[in-house]
């Protein structure tokens, strides 16, 4: 029940007389509906209903004088929804107004669960599965509590192209039965460390890269004495990348995108007793010959001692394989993704060449450029090679 007292009727007067009621007890009224006519010293004033509700009591009859602030009408309010119009007095509060509705709460809970099962997977693995197009719900999890792990995912991976390193599918020894009748096969030497990494890396390359190799020679008969061979090769690669930046790039076969790089980080194939290692010379274009030599020496020494930190062994943008130290003129060197090119230099030989002045013997470097034809065109490759040759053929 909410009580409405006679408000200040706007004239600062202390009281007013009831002239006529427009409502009766039990009437339902709307806000602002004319409720009662009150006479003040000056005029008859209409007082509107301040609330919507049912009239519960009238505190006077026509002719009665009501003091300002004294009770005038009692209301039974409709279910309020928190409007301030409900004075809150009947709620017995001291501030504010608590909303009231007609809701009756019934106990017990609602709804029901479906019976589906869901694989338990790390969010990162779930995301990778989505990229690989593998339905993670089909996998059996080998982690604790049946959690699907990254290994589970990769083991289930089909031959879809991958930007990540794939593990070597390990065949069981019994599957390596030779086709020809060899009765003694000897102990199976498991590939470890560098050899294992090479097997994995080459498998990945074979499965993804579209390799194409172009061959040519650089005539270095005109070299001035004292030239640093490796440094000249590195400088030539820089020249090639300037002419064709598309070979200094990474290719993302999954998303069909490539990243071009500004700096040139050359991975140099180094032969060690344990296997192939590829240390990286950073920012080749920013170093002079002496600096290149120093860095190459450091990396080669470190490679042989197996003391290079991981940072020196990763993230090259293009590769160099100076394979021809002892034998081999031309080759089809292997592109290691995500890089898209590898330049191979063979054994320097004294070749018979036809020049404008007749037949001469010139020292020449055989060059083999393998490129990933998914990402690099033949035109780009030969322009790169032409620039490499042009730089190599400079006297110094």
């Amino acid at each position: 029940m909410t009580r409405f007292n006679l408000p200040d009727l706007g004239e600062g007067l202390q009281e007013a007389e009831i002239v006529r009621w427009h409502v009766a007890v039990g009437d339902r009224v709307a806000v602002d509906q004319p409720m009662v006519a009150m006479e003040t010293a000056k005029a008859v004033v209409e007082v509107p209903a301040p609330f919507a509700g049912v009239i519960a009591a009238l505190h006077g009859k026509p002719g009665d004088t009501i003091a300002t602030g004294a009770p005038l009408v009692d209301f039974q309010l409709e279910a309020a929804n928190g409007t301030v119009a409900d004075a809150g007095v009947a709620q017995g509060g001291v501030v504010g107004h608590m909303p009231e509705t007609g809701e009756i709460i019934t106990a017990g809970h609602t709804g029901a669960r479906g019976t589906g099962h869901r694989a338990r997977v790390l969010p990162a693995v779930r995301e990778l599965a989505r990229k690989l197009g593998i339905d993670v719900e089909e996998l059996r999890g080998s982690g604790p509590g049946g959690v699907v792990t990254l290994d589970d995912l990769l083991a289930a991976r089909t031959a879809a192209p991958l930007a990540a390193v794939a593990p070597l599918p390990v065949a069981a020894p019994s599957a390596m039965r030779p086709a020809i009748g060899l009765t003694e096969t000897g102990e199976l030497e498991m590939l470890r460390s560098l050899r294992r990494a090479m097997a994995q890396s080459m498998t990945l390359s074979r499965d993804s890269v579209m390799e194409c190799t172009v061959f040519d020679d650089a005539d270095i008969e005109g070299w001035l004495p004292g030239g640093d061979y490796t440094a000249r090769l590195l400088r030539a690669i820089s020249a090639g990348c300037r002419a064709e930046p598309g070979l200094n790039a990474w290719f993302d076969g999954e998303n069909h995108g490539r990243r071009l790089f500004q700096p040139i980080h050359v991975g140099i194939a180094v032969d060690t007793p344990d296997g192939l290692l590829v240390p990286v010379i950073r920012d080749v274009a920013g170093r002079d010959a002496a600096q290149l030599r120093t860095e190459v020496n450091r990396l080669k020494a470190g490679a042989r001692e197996r003391s290079l930190p991981p940072a020196d062994l990763r993230d090259f943008t293009i590769m160099l394989s100076n394979f021809g130290v002892m034998a081999g003129r031309y080759a089809t060197p292997v592109v290691v993704p995500p890089a898209v090119a590898i330049l191979g230099s063979g054994r320097i030989t004294r070749d018979v060449v036809a020049t404008g002045h007749g037949i001469e013997a010139h020292r020449r470097i055989p060059l083999s450029l393998t490129f990933d034809h998914r990402c690099v065109t033949g035109g780009e490759a030969v322009r790169f090679l032409a620039a490499v040759i042009a730089d190599l053929q400079l006297p110094a």
Binding site: G82, V84, Q91, G92, G93, V94, V95, G96, H97, M98, P99, E100, T101, E103, I104, I105, T106, A107, H109, T110, G111, A112, R113, G114, G116, R118, R120, V121, L122, P123, R126, G145, V147
Partner: protein
Amino acid sequence: MPRVTLVEGINLALARALADDPDVVVIGEDVGVNGGVFRATAGLQQRFGKARVQDTPLAEGLIAGMSLGMATQGLKVVAEIQFMGFLYPALDQIANHMARLRNRTRGRLTCPVVIRMPHGGGIHAPEHHSESLEVLLCHHAGLRVVCPSTPGAAYGLLLAAIREPDPVLFLEPTRLYRLARQDVLDDGRAWPLDRAQLLQQGDDVTLVSWGAMLHETRQAAERLAQEKIGCEVIDLASLSPIDFDTILESVAHTGRLVIVHEAARTAGLGAEIAATVAERALYDLLAPVQRVTGYDTVMPYFAMERAYIPSVARIVEAVRTCVKA
């Protein structure tokens, strides 16, 4: 069986406790003659007398401190702080003494005190009357913090709190005091004190909330059902300790969690829940945990309070974000 509002449910529980146990004493400002500024203690002093239902002087620190003293002598004190916004003067006594008494005396002295207070806003009240400060209490070991969301829960949890031998902070959602009614059997049966309530089952997302926000949370669940998104709704009820088993079991089923609380976002209780779920249920999650909370501002004066308090629309949007992820 009486059909009662939440505040009437509290009154019923207090009357039952006072009647059943002569050691129960109710104290606070305006609780006696006036029956409390929300009528939570209406009629109690008339029925049980001035020694058992006491009007205290106007001092919250005093109320908390004297409760502790009375409790060590075996009285079971149910004290009232008139609004959670006025908790601060009492925090010294609550944190430095009530929370620690059992521990520092090796159990020799204990503090079976319940401190009740209205919690949260939405009633058009002046400043300081609309605060949600549960996190301050939950952070202190040695305290239990409870927040009912229905008349039945208010009755059952308050009785449990009064019978609990350690201090319990009993947060009463002001906005729900008179909102709805429920049939509550006055049988003196207490609810378990550290259990969350699974109010609704579904397949797609778990909604966790407490206090007045359950109102908007359930409305959001209804709206989402129309979009064919099935919600589980958990009423946390016990804010300290938190019943993680119920939450984790639900998240294992749905894979998605949205936490809704009126209190401000940063360092709110939602952060604790999200961190624990990340710790213990990462493999179950299909999407990041969402929190729908008050903003990192002071609780505004009431002209803006509806913009501050998370709305049904905000909750629905958070769930849709979760489901699309």
